[in-house]
Symmetry: C2
Subunit: 206 residues, 2 copies
């Protein structure tokens, strides 16, 4: 219904607003105010469109949030995906922690991590959004676990390290860094925290 295949013949009046820009703005509002704290008025004003246009283009608030999270993953949180392709387990972990510190304290975006703070807890109306983010965090941890599993198979991580626990540890620190950023800590401080955190693990290299 909403997102038709682009191959279809375009009929009628074409959309006047930039859908990507609108989604970007919605993402920022959710990031700053959380799912429940972001009202339709907040969202549409930031997106520069009316309620009608938003509902026609994205369906409803839940779907808009889902799309915003996707965009967040591909945009501000893309350091996470890039980190997975670092050559060694140590560099993967370091990229994630330093990336989290940087992304959570950017001056051009809300502090903290959308994936953590937008719906950590929720009332009845926010349960869908809460589940979206639980899945988002679980998925990220699972990818990291797979990466560490591969690293161990490649001899890149000592056999004594458990990939699941290690992935849980790194994501734990990353989430904590996001909370610290939302509490007001500076990037410099959080980079030092990331450095300390790296010492917890015996890496094969580095």
């Amino acid at each position: 219904m909403t997102a038709m295949p682009a191959s279809q013949t375009k009929l009628g009046r074409p959309r006047e607003f930039d859908s990507d820009y609108a989604l970007e703005q919605a993402m920022r509002v959710f990031w700053a105010k959380g799912y429940e704290g972001a009202s339709l008025t907040d969202l549409t004003e930031a997106m520069g469109i009316t309620r009608s246009s938003m509902y026609a283009a994205f369906g409803n608030k839940d779907e808009l949030f889902r799309r915003a999270v996707e965009r967040y993953t591909e945009g501000p949180a893309s350091y996470g995906i890039r980190a997975l392709s670092e050559p060694t387990a140590r560099e993967v972990a370091e990229s994630i922690l330093r990336g989290a510190a940087a992304a959570s304290t950017s001056r051009e975006a809300p502090h903290g991590c959308l994936g953590v703070q937008a719906a950590l807890s929720a009332g009845d109306n926010g349960l869908t959004a809460q589940k979206v983010l639980v899945d988002w965090r679980q998925d990220g941890a699972a990818r990291l676990e797979s990466r560490f599993l591969r690293a161990r198979a490649e001899g890149d991580l000592p056999e004594t390290e458990d990939p699941r626990t290690l992935a849980a540890y790194i994501t734990t620190v990353a989430y904590g860094i996001a909370v610290q950023a939302a509490t007001g800590r500076s990037e410099a401080e959080l980079l030092r925290v990331a450095d300390v955190a790296m010492n917890a693990v015996t890496w094969s290299h580095g």
Copy 2:
């Protein structure tokens, strides 16, 4: 007006409900649903009192939240204060991390940490609550920093360790553990994470 000194002569009809119990229930609702997600209806139903009684006893939603956070500090989060009186820096840190893992995964309470998840981000109506929790987290970190400062002075922590960074690291892991608990991780997993985290620091003892 609201909270008169207890020394005053008691006049009129005495309160019929248990104020402590009511506050405990309110705390749990805020813990599970967050500040904005917890409606007055949710709160008063759990507390077993009417809106009138709540407003007479606690003032308004913001004040109720403030009191609930106080109770949280003295109750479910009391492990934090107790940890500060452990004899060595290592034991302080270990008590905090293990305490966080246990408190965040209790079967008799909502998962996660009220101080983290009840208002990490907020809309306009939740800004006061958000500030309460920012202060709460900053205060906790400051106390831990003081404790580590003392530990270093007592020769209980190597001179090479910076108390501020160390306190930031430990609280970061503790917050991360709370996020993981809200994501569904088990206590056993989080205890393993806590063990890993302890290896990041060179302690004088243990």
